[in-house]
Structure formats: C-alpha cells, structure tokens
Amino acid sequence: MTLAFQLTQNKTDAEDLYQEVFIKAYKSISKFRFQSAFYTWLYRITVNTFYNLKRSQNKMPIQEALEDGSDHLLNISEEPNDFPERNEIIIAVKEAAENLPQKQRTAFLLKHMQNLKIREISGIMGIGEGTVKKYLFRAMEKLRIELKDYRHA
C-alpha cells in the first residue's frame, strides 16, 4: 500500500492500484514459480500496473484530469496553521518528483523508500543494474538541484 501511495502520490489512484495489483496476483498466483522472491514478483506487478494506469490517465481528457486532481498530496496537514513550511516542502518535493521521468522516479522510490537492492530493482523493472544506477544518479541529481532552496529549511 505504501509503495502504491509513493508511486501515485494520490490516494484514490493508490487504492485503485493496490486493489488491481492484488487481484492480478490472485488470478495469476499459479504462474508464480518461485524463481524470484515473492515480494519481487508482487512489486513487478505493482510497477507494471502503475505504468498501465499512468498510460490510461495520459489518454484521459484534460478537463477530467483536472477535476480528478482534487485529493492529491496526501501528507499535507489538513489543519490550516499546522506547520505551513512543512507543507510547502512537501509540495516542492512532490513537484520535483513528478517532474522526474517515470522510470527514474520508480527506481528512486524502490531504492530510497523501499530499501531494495539494485539487483532487485533491476529484476522488478526489467532493466540492467547499470541502467538502474544511471536512473538513480539522474533522479538524485535533478532532485538535488530542484530542492536546493529547501535543504536548510
């Protein structure tokens, strides 16, 4: 569930993704042959389902997409005067993360937030370990530049 939130940054999408991943896993559990760890398999389904979700959202009409964006930014406090600076940082991080290319963002989240090994990320994303390292470096470099004003906040 946490990975679903981190990938989508949107509560509604995260719930949809979570449901779809488990239903897919339930339907295809007999295909799982234990050639990889179970969680790697589940993460792979999550990432692929997320990519499909994004693809279908990109085809959505603009107006619909705008209306749908009302409940984004989960971690922002609902209390009006509760740590406004913190909310500002969260918005900045969210924007910086959204500006990352999808694969760089996925590699970054799997490494930094899910503490997976490079080898595991390579298996989940279906790319080489060298490419994972490149994605991590590029993501990190972009975030470093985009968030420079908030680093000492």
Partner: protein, 323 residues
C-alpha cells in the same frame, strides 16, 4: 560549487543510497576526506534524501487497510462466483483441464525426481547388505531397474520385526527385504511414493519413510511429493515428515507454494505451521496475500499472527543490535 566529475557524482549517489560494497564504501570515504567539494556534494545529497523521506513517508491507518482488505475479499468472492456461474460446457472443459493438467509443471516434478534419484545414487553411503530371495538380482541390479523406471506392481509383503519386505514385479519377480537403513529399500519407497498409481501404496510408502534417517534425498522426495501428489492424505503425511527437517530455503519455498496454491485447508495449515516455526521476513508478502485471500478464516488469522511474530522478532533483533 567546484566541479566534480560525473563519475564521482555517480559514486556519491551510490554511497548515500547504501549501494556500495564495503571496499568501495571505505575507498569513497577516504577520498572524501581529501576532497571538500565532494564532501559538500554528499552532504547536499543526504539533505535532499532526508527531505524526500519525510515527504514520501506514508503509513496507511489500520482502518484504511481493513477497508481495502474487505474490498479485496468482496472482489475475490465475486471472481469465484463468476467462475462458478460458467456455462455447463465450460465447466466440463475446465474440469477436464483440471484433471488432465498436473498441479505442477511437469518439468518441476521431473527435476525434483531426477535430483532425488541422483542425490540418492551419489550421496548415500555404500548400501547395507539386503536379502533377496532371488539371487539373480543384486541391489545394484534393482537400482538399475528403478532408474530405468522398469519396476511395476510393487507389493508390500508381511514381514517379521522391523524388516520391510517388498515383492517387485519386473521381467522376473523379485522379493526384497531389509530395514529402512538399506539404500535399496529407501529407493523403492521413494519410487513408490513418487510413481505408484495406487494412492494406498503411496500412503504406505510415505508412512514407512518416517523411519528412514533424515538426509537430503529423503527431503527432496518429500518436497516433490507434497508439490505433485494428488491424494490429500499422502500430501499431509509427506508434509508432516517434512516438518521434521530444519526449515531451509527449499522447504520454505515449497511451503509457500503449498500455502498459496493447495486446495486443501489442512495441507495449507500444515505448510503455515512449518513456516511459523522458522519465521523469516522473506515470507511476509506471501503471508499478506494469505491473510487477505485465503478462504479459511483460521488460516487468515494464523497468517496475521505469524506476521506479528516476525515483526516482534525483527524488533528484538534491532534492539539487540542497538544494545
């Protein structure tokens, strides 16, 4: 900021993300002591990471998770209902498919069997002398027949004491008797368990395996049996014997597969008990699925308990490390 090479920046990323080997890590740290720009760059990366950690860190509440679980259960019930409402013709074809297709891919079963027999042939010590009423058949000759799959209609004969007597039908009939320490008896029992068409004989074979000393080929044969056996009684007995082994990765993987796939609740419960005796963080994702999806309420609850045990264990280990 002074220029730092791209290669060093890449290394810095791996450093802050704990993706370096110990040697690379030490080397990088020593190069930082002489390079202030690099040190500053690493500090910036660490601060950036801490910003993102706080922003992305999200733990759904128990209520939210429970809501998702309920929704998932409802969906899986709906899926099962759709399958049970299939037209009669499709149901019949599905039934045939289920009967005809093995529960395991044939390559997996064949691999286990081959490994079991190869292990049996090469790992075991020289066979104890066994008695055969037919002098033309040495134990090596019978082993050869087993490997060729040329045995048929193996019968259990009444025998005195702890001896097991088997009547083996090949081109010539052979009577074999010996204890469960005898390699030839073990091989015939393995053969019976994995190949005989009669579930009663398979059950008898697995029951006799209880007294066979624990070794790798016995373990592999039992794993092969629990994964491919169609008779629930035999599967349960094999699983029971498997629980007497130390739970290694092979057994854990087999138990996870049974827990996720076996149709019988008692067998799934048996697999879960083996996993519970050897708690490991690797099994948590599978347990999550079981806690949501298993049709049996008791298994779902037990899966949650095992997950809780694993989390306590992890906390204890973390505390030990801190202390």
């Amino acid at each position: 900021m002074p220029n730092i090479s791209k290669k060093l920046k890449e290394k810095a990323t791996l450093y802050v993300m704990n993706s370096m080997t110990d040697q690379e890590h030490d080397l990088f740290e020593s190069s930082m002591t002489t390079n202030d720009a690099l040190k500053q760059y690493v500090d910036e990366l660490i601060h950036t990471l801490s910003l993102t950690t706080h922003s992305f860190d999200y733990k759904p509440s128990e209520e939210e998770l429970q809501g998702q679980r309920n929704l998932l259960r409802a969906k899986t019930v709906q899926l099962d209902n759709i399958q049970s409402n299939l037209p009669l013709l499709e149901k019949v074809s599905l039934a045939f498919e289920t009967v005809l297709s093995p529960r395991q891919p044939i390559w997996a079963v064949v691999t286990y069997v081959v490994i079991a027999f190869i292990a049996g042939r090469f790992l075991s010590v020289s066979p104890n002398p066994i008695s055969s009423t037919n002098s033309r058949f040495s134990s090596a000759g019978i082993l050869g027949l087993i490997q060729e799959g040329a045995l048929s209609n193996v019968k259990f004969e009444k025998s005195e004491g702890s001896n097991i007597r088997l009547a083996v039908e090949t081109k010539q009939n052979v009577d074999v008797s010996g204890g469960t320490n005898d390699e030839i008896i073990q091989q015939i029992l393995y053969y019976l368990l994995l190949n005989d068409a009669n579930p009663g004989k398979r059950l008898q074979a697995v029951s006799l395996l209880e007294t066979v000393p624990a070794h790798d080929n016995k373990k592999l044969v039992l794993i092969s049996s629990v994964l491919s056996e169609t008779n629930t009684g035999v599967r349960l007995r094999a699983l029971d014997l498997l629980s007497q082994f130390e739970t290694d990765k092979t057994i854990r993987d087999a138990c996870l597969k049974i827990l996720l796939e076996d149709q019988n609740e008692a067998v799934r419960m048996g697999a879960l008990s083996i996993l519970a005796n050897s708690p490991s963080a690797d099994i948590v994702p599978a347990l999550r699925v079981v806690s949501l999806m298993d049709q049996n309420e008791y298994i779902r609850e037990r899966a949650v308990e095992v997950m809780t045990d694993i989390s306590y264990l992890a906390e204890d280990q973390a505390l030990e490390v801190i202390q």
